[in-house]
């Protein structure tokens, strides 16, 4: 009998900053993703979104790269946060970045961590330590 290890498929929760068309796009790629809007969770605090993800066991997805909204919370037993870092928050750009970053992330990597991901670089921040997960050739400064 052959045993195949089943890869755990990540499930996501997009906070209200994540553009709605990008959620539809990621669903079309086969991702399980719920938007805060679908769950009547808009106009809520960052902590409320963070806690909701833990409750739903879904990874939090956001695009708000200029703010460090989710850095100061307790990540113990939290499925994790992925911040899509892109220069522009229009859906076509977010789609490109999110599809690229999500392909490279597994549940083990994101659990209890913040992932900052762009087309050039993906880093994992866990327990104050920052580890590089991916770096495009020639992207280091």
């Amino acid at each position: 009998m052959t045993s195949k290890k089943k890869k755990l498929k990540l499930q996501f929760y997009a906070d209200e900053c994540f553009p709605l068309p990008s959620v539809i796009f990621l669903k079309s790629l086969g991702y399980s993703i719920r938007h805060a809007y679908e769950l009547k969770m808009v106009q809520k605090s960052d902590k409320t979104h963070f806690d909701k993800c833990k409750l739903l066991d879904r990874v939090l997805l956001t695009v708000d790269q200029r703010l460090k909204r989710y850095e100061n919370f307790n990540y113990e037993n939290h499925p994790g946060v992925i911040v899509i870092k892109c220069s522009s928050t229009v859906p076509s750009n977010v789609n490109k970045h999110a599809a690229f970053v999500l392909k490279k992330i597994t549940s083990n990597v994101v659990k209890e961590s913040i992932i900052n991901g762009s087309l050039d670089r993906i880093t994992q921040r866990k327990n104050e330590k920052v580890v590089s997960i991916y770096e495009k050739a020639g992207a280091s400064s």
Partner: protein, 72 residues
């Protein structure tokens, strides 16, 4: 160098105003922006644009006044 200001948000939301300008820079419209964040009120989006316009006009006038030589 311009002074760094605090991030401003649309009224009663967690959506930063600078998100709207990403759409304008990319050649999209405020209606496209609204379809990304449909719970925002159209009036609030238009009001933000109006305020930015007024702020620009006011700054522009101040600059012109500063450049105008004083007659003696």
């Amino acid at each position: 160098m311009p002074k760094k200001s605090k991030v401003q948000y649309f009224p009663k939301s967690r959506i930063p105003i600078y998100f709207l300008f990403d759409y304008i820079v990319e050649g999209l419209s405020w209606a496209d922006f609204h379809s990304s964040y449909p719970w925002l009120k159209k009036e609030d989006i238009i009001q933000v644009i109006q305020e930015q316009k007024n702020s620009y006009i006011s700054n522009d006038l101040k600059e012109k006044e500063a450049q105008t030589p004083v007659l003696r």
